[in-house]
Point group: C2
């Protein structure tokens, strides 16, 4: 069994006030859920709570539970309803009360087994119960393995917007088993590829080219491709998080490529109409065209990105935004929580593998870029 | 006007990922609320939200608001109902939604003007909105000025227990105006003195002696005494927090002197029967007698602590716990969130100005110590 470890090195000086280093490892491999007990046991853990949703993850949760019990860790299991609606204060409150009922103490390890919703919700509840419990992220979807489970962002949604309540809370470890990707519905798997293309566009031209060369086998979920894809994506996300853990130097902002548009698309279309990755794919197309209209890059970049997204099965245009007033997009983008003082700020590529942050962009150019993706696909 | 600044130095290496240092200052003085605008302005803040409760703090909130507006900071004001019941997820949710409605961004400064409830609730909401806003603590009660506003602990209560949901979140600054102490009800003021006595007992024999020598003028809220009292207490709390910000090396645990007992007393008596400081006073008496029964110290220490608490008007015995089964106390203490693995752990003095952490204490000795404070006062 092949297993790759990625070290996430975080501000180890804070270890002067902590018995455990905040640094941790991301484990990527095939059929490695069954080895999780040994990893958690290394931490001298005697008790654990496994949180998953009521889906295929119940089965993954059982695998994880058996692995923990095999090394004599006592396990309680909690489940949440599947879907984005569980990323709510209501579910958080239920979990907090369950943790209290179970009389969990700070030595208890929490394991979040599932996609982004399970990871974000469980991470937030763990971050805030008794002012902080150790959490292991066990992502079982592509988007969670390459993105949401790495980097310590946790949170829930408010009626007014996504992720408005949350915390930066680094996991104790991440275990990404590519075997869990086999059972994903096709639309969900493909959606996760949008973040992968993003890493190529913002940070790594070689990886972008590898994606172009292997698009068919990626689309077919071949194991060798999945392994490299998840591993390299996790490395690239780690590279950014290590250098800007709390999104303040500006570096982490590069991860928002396509996302300012995507959030506006998701909100206006109504949550659930577009999957997040689909919105990101559309957002990257709007962003690359905006960059082109600002003369930041040449037409080849636009074409290569579009070609790769299409080959992977991602949307590059959509009819669902046709009836939405352009002012609605602008209003939502101005309210984005990374916005500072109302200024519209975009992360835009100037070539494949490199982005810049551009401020004070003409609203007309932004709406023109949006219009290029509004068509019958 | 006399103003004293205490520097809180926190892990400045993390400044590599932050444009502002996490270190901050505690300002202690008389009539300094009106200067807060200048302090906040130094941070290049253009917008602020002032949170207070519906009490005398509305008036203090107005003073703070005027001071901010005088330096051209735009201010929104929010209020919460007075009392411990506001330290709830319900109030937190209301504030999160209000923050969303006001479209607050990460450049907005939050100011918590009030006692421990306002500070803990507002601090937690600020810590978790948009994954973290800057918060200024403006404590207006004695217990908040000497204890709860310093050190970054924030949180709300669950039905199952106090402070079960929360975060470590350091303020951007603390402004403690001793002038606000004049209007406190006597019982509340006296209650705050319990934490002050605690600092003397755990860390500073000279300060303990100063308290003995000045007990009458402290009881009379004379300004010179208040100034020294708040300042020295804040310094001592800062000393501990700087060395163990997240309660992991064991040092910060010294602040729990009397508190393991106190939490059990508050819970069994029913919240509100005893003020927190009253419970701490009783808890310190149980703890010092437990230490005596373990031969950690001589009778003089017990007597000096009891004498000082009594002179300051604090209870050293109570009839309200008479009817409670000793098992109830033990059960609650075993559930304390600082408990690790069910072991009963106490912070006990071995002389005035110094404490040790003692594990695995005989339950019989613990219940005997509790019985010594259960009598008609």
């Amino acid at each position: 069994m092949k297993r790759h470890e990625i070290h996430v090195r975080l501000d180890d000086s804070i270890a002067t006030t902590s018995p455990v280093s905040r640094s941790y490892k991301i484990h990527v491999g095939d059929e490695i859920l069954q080895d999780i007990g040994a990893l958690v046991q290394n931490d001298n853990v005697q008790r654990a709570v496994v949180v998953s949703d009521q889906s295929i993850n119940e089965s993954h949760g059982r695998t994880v539970t058996r692995s923990l019990e095999a090394v004599s860790i006592t396990v309680d299991r909690l489940t949440i309803p599947p879907g984005e609606t569980s990323k709510s204060l209501t579910e958080a409150e239920r979990l907090w009360n369950e943790f209290a009922r179970l009389e969990i103490d700070r030595k208890t390890a929490i394991l979040a087994v599932g996609g982004g919703v399970v990871g974000d919700l469980t991470g937030f509840v763990a971050a805030t119960f008794s002012r902080g419990l150790q959490v292991w992220q066990v992502p079982t979807t592509l988007v969670a393995q390459v993105d949401s489970a790495i980097g310590g962002k946790t949170g829930v949604n408010l009626p007014a917007g996504k992720n408005l309540v949350g915390a930066f809370w680094q996991p104790r470890g991440v275990v990404a088993d590519i075997n869990t990707l086999k059972s994903l519905p096709d639309r969900e798997y493909v959606s996760g590829l949008a973040e992968v293309v993003k890493y190529g566009m913002i940070l790594d031209a070689d990886f972008f080219q590898w994606l172009e060369n292997n698009a068919i086998s990626i689309r077919g979920r071949e194991k060798e491709s999945l392994n490299h894809l998840v591993r390299r994506s996790a490395e690239l996300k780690t590279f950014v998080v290590e250098r800007d853990e709390r999104e303040v130097t500006g570096l982490r902002a590069c991860l928002n490529y396509g996302h300012t548009f995507a959030h506006a698309f998701e909100t206006t279309a109504g949550y659930g109409t577009l999957l997040h990755g689909e919105a990101v794919s559309l957002g990257m197309m709007a962003a690359v065209r905006l960059a082109y209209s600002l003369d930041l890059l040449d037409q080849t970049v636009v074409e290569r990105q579009q070609q790769l997204l299409e080959t992977l099965g991602l949307p590059v245009g959509t009819p669902v935004l046709n009836d939405i007033a352009t002012d609605d997009f602008l209003r939502i983008m101005a309210r984005d929580k990374k916005t500072v003082g109302g200024n519209l700020r975009f992360v835009l590529p100037d070539k494949i593998g490199h982005v810049e942050i551009i401020d004070h962009i003409d609203h007309m150019l932004v709406t023109s870029a949006i219009k290029t993706i509004c068509y019958a696909n």
